[in-house]
């Protein structure tokens, strides 16, 4: 029976923690004019100018080698920067995906030419990426993708469709998981990853309006798009292994625990200003605080494993499930509290933030792998399947 290794309490090293003061002061000033309901969108918000400024300060690609424009620092340095972005509610969506997973993925699997070409602009905050995984008939069942790249004399011909692609309408590039041999029935075999230039002829991007009235994701159509030879990233047929490694980056970060923090902090401001020390208020504040403190310690402990070169895939799935559950409970519990109060006493800005979180919260346990998929991974880690 396999088992999970217990997490060990870890501390962020002092040389990385020192980054916090400067990053925090910069972001605090950057978001000063933004209302809480807007800051609540954090990495769903896009501000290209902010991304360029952060790039200029060396805060994007901080873990990547200086030879490609990166900071050459540890995963902890990135943890500190990302945590500050989330807790100030900075709109960092423009560079978020490239910084989190595309650039590390190119560094790990790309050719020298690909690294030289793609990574420096990412680090400058000038190049945005999106992730081409889901398709209309491949949601949680990712291995069933049907979008296909076929070899030609000059490279590859791409045809098919992707969907739910975050920020696709804002990006220059997508890293797509597609089939290069066999059929959907071959599952994990015959999949490869490509870097697709979204300005090529034959690419069509149609934004999807979501339930909050915004268009954060798109559907994408590829009609015989001619890709150059250099578009293949990593080895042909190794796409599944590569994408699995990518998901470990995607699941282990603080964005899986702090998505509702702007609302919680706004609620705390409200009850502190009231001087409300009723026991029901204390319990609610303490419930969220004690869960969050535990989850943050778990997230730092996972970061420590990444820093040691480990890939805690199952543990990351487990923490993501717990973290997104709290993220979703925060707007539910706080709404329960606020709507037990005198209707006139709650500031409209707080209610506006609550509405924003209530609308977007269902996505917390969808993006990056659904709750049920994650629990299946944990069950496998426990030897049940």
């Amino acid at each position: 029976m396999s088992t999970l290794a217990p997490l060990v309490i870890a501390a962020i090293p002092a040389e990385d923690e020192v980054l916090r003061t400067e990053v925090s002061a910069f972001l605090q000033a950057a978001v000063a004019d933004r209302p809480a309901w807007e800051r609540a969108k954090t990495w769903s918000g896009v501000d290209r100018d902010l991304s360029r400024q952060m790039g200029a300060r060396g805060w994007i690609g901080v873990t990547l080698p200086p030879a490609y424009g990166g900071g050459g620092r540890s995963v902890y340095a990135r943890y500190v920067i990302v945590e500050e972005c989330l807790n100030w509610g900075a709109p960092v969506g423009w560079h978020w995906i490239a910084d989190r997973q595309s650039a590390p993925m190119i560094l790990r699997f790309g050719t020298e030419a690909q690294k030289q070409f793609y990574i420096p602009p990412i680090c400058r905050g000038e190049s945005a990426f999106c992730i081409g995984m889901s398709e209309p008939n491949s949601g949680s069942d990712l291995a069933s993708v049907r979008t296909r790249a076929t070899r030609t004399d000059t490279g590859w011909l791409l045809s098919g469709q992707k969907i739910w692609t975050t920020n696709a309408d804002q990006c220059q590039h997508m890293i797509a998981l597609v089939r290069t041999s066999g059929t959907a029935e071959d599952r994990h075999r015959g999949l490869s990853q490509f870097i697709v230039d979204l300005s090529l002829p034959g690419v069509e991007v149609r934004p999807i309006q979501d339930l909050s009235g915004e268009s954060q994701s798109s559907e994408m159509f590829f009609d015989d798009v001619e890709l150059p030879d250099g578009a293949l990233i990593g080895a042909e047929g190794e796409g599944w292994a590569q994408v699995t490694a990518e998901l470990a980056f995607e699941r282990s970060g603080p964005e899986r625990i702090f998505s509702s923090i702007i609302l919680f902090d706004a609620w705390l401001d409200f009850v502190r200003a009231l001087g409300d020390q009723r026991s029901s208020t204390q319990r609610l504040a303490g419930r969220i605080f004690t869960e969050l403190a535990t989850l943050r310690a778990m997230s730092v402990a996972l970061t420590d494993q990444l820093a040691q070169g480990k890939s805690p895939v199952v543990e990351a799935a487990l923490v993501k499930d717990l973290g997104t559950t709290l993220e979703q409970n925060i707007p539910l519990w706080l709404a329960d509290d606020l709507f037990a109060r005198d209707p006139g006493s709650v500031p409209s800005s707080l209610l506006h933030t609550l509405v924003m979180l209530t609308r977007i919260a269902p996505s917390f346990s969808l993006r990056g792998g659904t709750r049920e998929i994650l629990r299946g991974m944990v069950a496998r880690g426990l030897g049940l399947r």
Binding site: M1, L4, P6, L7, V8, I9, A10, A11, E83, N87, F258, I261, F264, D265, L268, D269, V271, R272, D276, Q277, S279, T281, Q282, R283, L284, A285, G286, R287, F289, T290, E291, L292, A293, T294, L295, R296, A297, M298, A301, E315, L318, V319, D321, L322, E372, L374, R375, G376, V378, A379, L382, G383, L384, R385
Partner: protein, 335 residues
């Protein structure tokens, strides 16, 4: 050195704290053989300074041992004894023979009353805190001892004269905070055992022609149980984060709130997947789920500690961002 003491302790528990020993202790209030082994081993002195016959360890260093006590549902109050001896030594008082335990007491009507004295049935001395003043009271001097909610616990009263005659072992002591820290660590270990029993059962029990573990509904339940246990382990470690034998209040609030809430869920899933078999006296599951509920209640369940943490979070003077409050609570933690 820590690994060595831990593996020695683990072997001792394996050999002498079997479910049969626990079952008998809960029924008959007797665990003499295990108690003798533990006394002889000297593990009760780990928190004492080295020049007082101890090992000079901190709570953080002995966390794995505290969790193992829960993993075996150890009926002897070793955790409480460890802290009580450290408190007595710090106060310059003599160490009484026998096992020690801790509690909050109330002084009224000529008596000191402790409503629930953990392991009172096996302890020789209780360190009782009344309004923050801590004094050792011999169980032999008690005027009344009655069964309490868990087989080894008791409701105990002493004549006020005993209390006045006892030396002071500490002032401004929050004994419930000490107990909460120890119970949280024990809970993490007990949860690990209930998870192990549950995994073992669902992989072996066959229904509809396949092991229960093959059913997605069961997999989802056990995954949630594992997640709760995993969070509880981290929280319990946070509670024990101190370089001394004295826990810190904010960290204990995190630990006890999280472990108590998790305990209820872990116990519920354990019984759900064991079916009627786990509902019998004969099955070991009940030894551990009973302890889960007892330690959930001990020194306050989740709401009490959420209230403590929340009251502190809402007080003025805290940083505006929750992240910064968490960072200040976790400052100077280590593995």
């Amino acid at each position: 050195m820590e690994d060595l003491f831990l593996s020695t302790f683990s072997r001792l528990m394996q050999a002498h704290a079997s479910p049969e020993v626990v079952r008998r202790a809960l029924q008959a209030g007797e665990a003499d053989a295990l108690a003798a082994q533990l006394e002889e081993s000297g593990f009760g002195n780990l928190l004492l300074p080295e020049d007082h016959g101890g090992a000079g360890l901190s709570l953080a260093q002995i966390y794995p041992l505290l969790a193992l006590l829960g993993a075996h549902a150890c009926p002897v109050p070793l955790a409480e004894t460890l802290v009580a001896r450290a408190a007595l030594q710090a106060a310059g008082l003599a160490q009484p023979a026998g096992w020690l335990t801790l509690a909050e007491g109330v002084l009224a009507e000529g008596q000191v009353a402790v409503h629930g004295l953990p392991y009172g049935r096996l302890a020789g001395t209780a360190l009782v805190a009344v309004d923050g003043v801590l004094r050792p009271l011999a169980l032999a001097d008690a005027s009344a001892r009655a069964p309490h909610l868990y087989g080894l616990d008791q409701a105990v009263r002493w004549p006020a004269a005993c209390w006045r005659a006892a030396p002071v072992a500490g002032e401004a002591v929050d004994a419930s905070m000490w107990l909460a820290c120890l119970a949280a660590a024990r809970l993490a270990g007990t949860m690990a055992t209930v998870l192990d029993l549950s995994r073992e059962h669902v992989t072996q029990r066959v229904q509809f022609g396949r092991p229960l573990a093959r059913f997605q509904a069961i997999q989802q339940l056990i995954s949630q149980q594992a997640e709760q246990m995993y969070a509880a382990q981290m929280a319990a470690m946070i509670g024990c984060q101190t370089r001394s034998w004295q826990p810190e209040a904010a960290r204990v609030a995190i630990a006890k709130a999280t472990t108590s809430a998790a305990a209820a869920q872990v116990a519920a899933v354990g019984h759900a997947v064991h079916g009627a078999m786990g509902f019998t006296e004969e099955h070991d599951l009940q030894l551990f789920t009973r302890l889960l509920h007892r330690d959930r209640w001990l020194a306050g369940a989740e709401s009490r500690w959420q209230e403590v943490a929340g009251g502190w979070l809402l007080s003025s003077g805290q940083p505006a961002r929750t992240l910064d409050v968490i960072r200040s609570v976790m400052a100077d933690t280590h593995s």
